[in-house]
Amino acid sequence: MKWTKKHIISINDFSRDEIDFVLEKSGILEKKLSSSRTSSLMAGKILANLFFEPSTRTRMSFEAAMKRLGGITIGFDHPGISSEVKGETIADTVRIVSGYADVIVIRHPVEGSARLASEYSDVPIINGGDGANQHPTQTLLDLYTIKKEFKKIDGLDICIVGDLKYGRTVHSLTNSLENYDVRIRFISPQELRAPRQIVKSLSNRGIEVKETTKLNLKNSDVIYVTRIQKERFPDPQEYERVKGAFILNLNSLEGIRDNAIIMHPLPRVSEISTDIDSTKHARYFEQAKNGIPVRMALLCLVCDIKF
């Protein structure tokens, strides 16, 4: 496939072919990483990390990816030291930084900021999260983790647990799964059900969707868990009641498929008990690690580096 994307803004911009291409390329770079810890594919190139809100994992993961490719990184990870506090627009910041760097990763709390940035940049923009809207590299690493495990995505039973109403990662993941022939089970408290628009959209694409409030993890290949946030509940007592019903512990794994994997975008708080970490089902730490080859692949692809 010929890669034509200059910017990575939203998973909704990707066709299935493009997603599969990124996953395939990520696999190539992961193999390279296992034989040699670094490469020189991006030698002499500069990545600018513009993090207008704090992030540890996404920023470090992009930094590690760029450095493993032989490139260097510049940028800031706190809005207090950017020119935004002096009143500079995102458009101006991006115009200026695109003169300094070969590729820009931007995280900003305002939704749509990455798309705006792409309109004012001469160099590729990668969205590292724009508020509650999109975090496409997280979705691609989620899909990469699934495909790496099962060698396919089609035909899988995927169950998604937790905050399905507000969770950005859940929305992006389900949007991307519209491209595949999967069966989805949503498990959440009644108050945090998936938006109707998402369920309808999946159904329109012929995907079998089930919704339940019972934490039944049987008959699933992928169990994707997300955090239920306290601030989503007006009544703290209601939160306490609901929270307990969606905590995964060893008992909840009884009867699940032998090869089922448990994923989580992290950070987790208490929704997956730590005694699951050592089971053969836990994949969340490996999932975070998979962010490196996926982000390496995306950096190379948008910079038109052949590999």
Binding site: T89, G112, S113, L116, G131
Partner: protein, 160 residues
């Protein structure tokens, strides 16, 4: 009775003004709002709702005496009534007939309902853009924050 005869019977022709035909059933009041026509309007106004139509099943029609229409208003009507035709009448004759077209992208007309959307931040050099995701029923998606709107679209149309 043909559609034409039916129309003649129910709505009188006008001397000068505009006739907006083929408005989707029930949308005539929204078209009047876009034209800024309210109880203070003093010229002759006729409108018909739920008229039989060959193409639409049922349709609405609006006739306004001594009124012109600009491109901005036509673009707004295209969102509410994407099948509408606009007839400009001079001396009882149709001097111009125009079918509205719903563009693939609606630029600068709709205010994004998401307060967290970058298009609602004053400092940035940005114009709202909505992409037509589905025509019937209409679903619009903000190009920036990706918020989708499908009902009550009139409330998001900017006044000017």
């Amino acid at each position: 009775m043909t559609e034409k005869e039916d129309k003649v019977l129910k709505i009188k022709t006008i001397k000068n003004g505009i006739v907006i035909d083929h408005i989707r059933q029930g949308k005539a009041p929204d078209v009047l709002k876009i034209l800024g026509i309210d109880e203070n309007f003093r010229d002759a106004l006729t409108f018909a709702m739920n008229v039989p139509s060959r193409d639409l099943g049922r349709k609405d029609i609006v006739k306004v005496e001594n009124r012109d229409i600009d491109t901005n208003e036509i673009n707004k009507i295209a969102i509410i009534a994407p099948d509408a035709t606009i007839n400009i009448i001079k001396d009882y004759k149709v001097v111009r007939k125009e079918k509205v077209t719903l563009p693939e992208q609606i630029i600068g007309i709709i205010k994004c309902p998401n307060p967290q959307c970058i298009t609602n931040k004053e400092r940035e050099p940005i114009t709202s853009v909505f992409v037509v995701k589905q025509v019937n029923p209409l679903i619009l998606r903000c190009k920036y924050c990706e918020r989708e709107i499908s009902s009550g679209i009139l409330t998001y149309i900017k006044a000017h």
